[in-house]
């Protein structure tokens, strides 16, 4: 399943389109950046509340497929712009982390 499929989830709002053809391997939840850095599987749909540019750095270094900012978390002002520059796909949702990951998981299971 590609990142593009996540557009089907009505609760998700697309903030930035990166490579929408990237394959999603699995949802991954984590808010501690060092833990995410060492544990995020490549191709992860990373669900987090860390709406800052450091999360973008972690996402690109670990080859995440996209970031999903959950819990209606607030974003640092330059995050969307930086995501555009770095071509990172960014979604936003009011859903809690678990529910947001479950949506991805269910879609992955088909």
């Amino acid at each position: 399943m590609t990142v593009n499929e996540l557009k089907k989830i009505p609760e998700f709002t697309l903030l930035n389109e990166g490579d929408m053809n990237k394959e999603i391997t699995r949802p991954f939840c984590c808010d501690l950046l060092s833990v995410a850095m060492s544990k995020a599987p490549s191709g992860a749909a990373w669900v987090t509340i860390m709406g800052n540019t450091n999360a973008l750095a972690v996402s690109s270094l670990t080859d995440c497929a996209c970031i999903i900012l959950a819990e209606g978390t607030s974003l640092d002002p330059n995050v969307v712009h930086k995501a555009q520059v770095q071509e990172i796909t960014l979604f936003e949702t009011e859903l809690p982390i678990f529910e947001a990951s479950l949506k991805v998981y269910e879609l992955l299971q088909g």
């Binding site: 501690l32 060092s34 450091n54 270094l61």
Partner: protein
């Protein structure tokens, strides 16, 4: 070593928003060189953690990177406060990071353990009040 590539990055003081740019640049260079993705991942994790430490614990510094056909060496040098007890600092979960830094998602005390885990060789030279130099090598 004629076919080695030398890179240098200046890591600025307290600039959280730019942290990760140096490791990102090294990552994309290794990718272009066709280095194995698992190795690139190890380098990215190790260097990013080191870069972040320079920003949050040491007011920035300089990173020298030497890439040869066989391996990559990263030398991270700062003029920060130094590390009082390296063995303690190496323990997973140990952190002196401030609340501000924790709010950004850092300060889990996993940086140095990750750097050790993902590099093939790591050496820390540190002196209180003088600074810290962390050298890491990852084999291709």
């Amino acid at each position: 070593m004629s076919d080695s590539l030398k890179l240098q990055y200046i890591i600025s003081d307290e600039d959280f928003t730019r942290a990760g740019e140096a490791s990102g640049d090294v990552k994309s260079k290794l990718k272009m060189m066709g280095v194995n993705p698992d190795v690139i991942r190890k380098v990215s994790i190790a260097m990013y953690e080191g870069e972040i430490n320079m920003v949050i614990h040491a007011n920035g510094g300089v990173i020298d990177v030497i890439i040869t056909p066989k391996d990559i060496t990263m030398i991270l040098k700062d003029k920060g406060p130094g590390i009082k007890d390296v063995d303690l600092a190496m323990q997973a979960g140990y952190s002196t990071a401030s609340e501000n830094v924790r709010a950004l998602g850092f300060g889990a005390g996993m940086g140095l353990p990750n750097m050790k885990k993902y590099s093939d060789e790591m050496n820390i030279e540190t002196e209180l009040g003088v600074g810290t130099t962390v050298t890491m090598k990852v084999n291709f």
